[in-house]
Chain length 219, copies 2
């Protein structure tokens, strides 16, 4: 599949490399063409990796991953362009973390709204799926790094988009019983609001290689 | 130990009964004396159970559990009275859920503040510990209802208060490795903001008997 990855930070590079490893063609998008980090990534990632602007990447991909910083995501999608986004599936793994007052961050959007909903409102035709945003990027693309089962979530207003995202999650190594469909996109408020706890656990344990497992009575 | 439990709902009754079962003397506090639910609870809970107003309970307890609805907690503590609260340990298990617009609820306080901090600011001498608020009350007082290990958190500005709370959690059945100290009381922002995800998982699975386990690489 041709996939666009918007964002050249750790999250974008990690997801991009994993998608190439799985046989996909990946274009890593950044604000400007010739981004150095993207270029270095492309050399490592191999023949199926390419780079370009947000617009180049969005035009290229059949599916688009939003791996930009949450505070910059709306601008990145505007740069990608409504025509290039079209009715494609946008897997939004970003979080609206606000580090302007230092660590721990607060959220720039929360409670009665979410970043995912903000992006969906700005681009009503694109099919936003919130996924994978409750853990670090190494675990997103390789859940089997943890020694036992753990969970990730899907939120979207579009059932078909959820299935597309679920298929990619399976390729990353997620088991069906580890992927919980939370319902419509407003449920992304829940997964985005996990981040304030995530950063506190990270602060307390100094180990970001963790995720939450839902433990249920009788299972 | 003499323990006050503020709130006569499911959470207050469940915590109160469990504390009596563990040998503590418990006074269940409500807005007005002669609360019917409190009276019925007292009959079931046995000789070490008593009831009274919020002020009666707060005066009685060496430790105080806040089990009121989050939106009513500040008023309940005002009714309890600053003199009765004194420098006691207040274990705050409440969440600032706002159901005024139906289900799922939003939070009436979040992001850059928390209910726990609000209570602490209003009563600077009482020693607030946020704990147990990320699961239903049956699991709070009997974590072994779940078939495997799971986690709870402590947030407080007072180290001694955390140890008092930790001791009670141990009595409930929590293992030391299941109790994670998140730091000062501002970390309660993190645990209170788990609720929006909690209610979505509950909505998706129709099963409230769950909690989160932190799964870490290499353990």
């Amino acid at each position: 599949m041709k996939i666009a990855v918007l964002g050249t930070g750790d999250v974008g590079q990690t997801i991009g490399s994993r998608l190439v490893e799985l046989g996909h063609e990946v274009k890593l998008g950044s604000r400007t063409a010739g981004n150095e980090k993207a270029g270095a990534w492309m050399k490592k990632a191999g023949a199926k990796a390419s780079t370009g602007t947000f617009a180049d990447a969005a035009a290229f991909g059949e599916v688009i991953f939003n791996c930009t910083l949450g505070g910059a995501s709306l601008e990145a999608l505007k740069a990608a362009g409504e025509a290039n986004l079209g009715t494609k599936v946008l897997v939004d793994v970003a979080n609206p973390l606000d580090f302007s007052k230092g660590f721990p961050p607060s959220l720039s959007i929360c409670n009665t709204d979410s970043l995912a909903e903000t992006l969906q409102r700005a681009f009503p035709r694109v099919r936003v799926v919130k996924a994978l945003n409750t853990m670090n990027c190494n675990l997103m693309v390789n859940p089997r790094l943890l020694p036992e089962s753990h969970h990730t979530y899907l939120s979207s207003n579009d059932a078909g988009a959820k299935e597309t995202a679920r298929g990619l999650l399976r390729q990353f190594g997620w088991k069906d019983e580890e992927i919980l469909d939370l319902g419509d996109l407003s449920s992304a408020r829940g997964t985005e609001q996990v981040l304030p706890l995530w950063v506190r656990i990270y602060g307390a344990t100094k180990n970001g290689a963790f995720n939450f497992k839902i433990v249920t009575a009788g299972t």
